[in-house]
């Protein structure tokens, strides 16, 4: 009797990405069809004002629509919660602006299965090729701050490409709903003694993804929010 296939949820949190989301979903389909895994692309439409949900559906994704816009952290939490409730063995998250290569997502899944990590981060900063200096500086700065505040050493704490084991899906919960969830998630994983590892990925920057990417000034908001969370939890954990 053949072994049951590993079930993978490919989660994409999306907000106003109607222009590209269908292609992103189709690209993931193309790569994963050739693999031996059972998979489902799950797009979490975070209250978009355009037809992101319809486009994702046309691409073949299972679409979860948020009634309210909650932020990237909230949309990711919904996608991963769906993956856990639906009995997936592994879940991945990747950005909806097309900056991640679907082959890197597949590679991440294979690495997680091999090294038995609980949380695998696709780092754009191991091989910085293609990244602008401003982005390298912003992301490195946030990784350093994540290290100072939470004691977690990773090269790219803000990467959207992540792979989760079933244990991580079951246990990982975070409180912030904006972009700061990237660092908070690592902190929670550390508190839960989950194994965190990194693997190198290449970021694909197009004119579109550059226009959709985070403004470096948003780093100030992220740091403020992380500091607040760190101080508050000093008293109430």
């Amino acid at each position: 009797m053949s072994e049951p296939k590993v079930k993978i949820a490919l989660v994409i949190p999306a907000y106003n990405e109607a222009r590209v989301i269908r292609r992103i979903v189709e690209d993931l389909h193309d790569v994963f069809w050739k693999s031996s895994y059972e998979f489902q692309v799950v797009v979490v439409d975070d209250g978009s004002k355009d037809d992101t949900a319809e486009q994702a559906h046309l691409g073949g994704a299972h679409v979860i629509r948020h009634i309210l816009n909650t932020g990237s952290g909230g949309a990711t939490a919904t996608g991963l919660s769906f993956a856990y409730q639906s009995g997936f063995d592994i879940a991945t998250t990747s950005d909806a602006d097309g900056q991640h290569d679907p082959h890197d997502v597949l590679r991440g899944v294979e690495m997680l299965l091999q090294d038995k990590s609980d949380l695998l981060i696709g780092s754009r900063l191991i091989d910085k090729q293609g990244m602008s200096r401003v982005k390298v500086l912003g992301n490195t700065g946030l990784s350093v701050i994540t290290n100072i505040l939470f004691g977690i050493r990773v090269t790219d704490s803000q990467s959207g490409l992540r792979v989760f084991s079933q244990k991580a899906l079951e246990q990982l919960k975070w409180k912030t709903s904006g972009y700061e969830f990237c660092s908070e998630m690592l902190w929670r994983a550390k508190q839960l003694n989950l194994t965190i590892n990194e693997f190198p990925i290449k970021a694909i920057y197009t004119e579109y993804s550059k226009s959709k990417g985070q403004n470096n000034w948003n780093a100030v908001n992220i740091i403020k929010s992380l500091l607040r969370r760190r101080i508050l939890e000093f008293f109430n954990e």
Binding site: V63, I64, Q85, K175, F234
Partner: protein
């Protein structure tokens, strides 16, 4: 009655309430042991500071470390007000965070169920 004693008597119920609330949260498993100890230590320091306000002032004044006037009735009211606000703000924050969490969970669950029903 001494103003220092009045300051202590007015604030003691708030400090006891804060410590009791931390103890209840800890016993109900909503607060970790570490955080419980931190809260007790902080409120304990506030309590000790108020109880020892007069000897501390006398020590500082006699050693020339402060030139301020002794505690006035206005100071008593002001310090009590600050501690009351601190107590209330902490309680409100805990409640607000709980509500925010529940709202997020509700929104998440609702979105997933609606997508499954389609």
């Amino acid at each position: 009655m001494s103003r220092y004693l009045l300051l202590f008597i007015l604030n003691l119920p708030l400090i006891i309430a804060a410590m009791l609330s931390a103890l209840v949260e800890y016993k109900m498993g909503k607060l970790s042991r570490k955080s419980f100890v931190r809260q007790i230590v902080i409120w304990g320091i506030i309590c000790a500071g108020l109880a020892l306000a007069q000897p501390i002032y006398k020590f500082l004044y006699s050693n020339g470390l402060t030139q301020t006037e002794p505690l006035s009735l206005f100071d008593v009211i002001q310090i009590t007000g600050i501690i009351t606000v601190l107590f209330m703000a902490n309680r409100s924050r805990i409640k607000l965070e709980g509500l925010e969490r529940r709202l997020q969970d509700l929104h998440q669950e609702l979105s997933i169920r609606l997508s499954n029903d389609k």
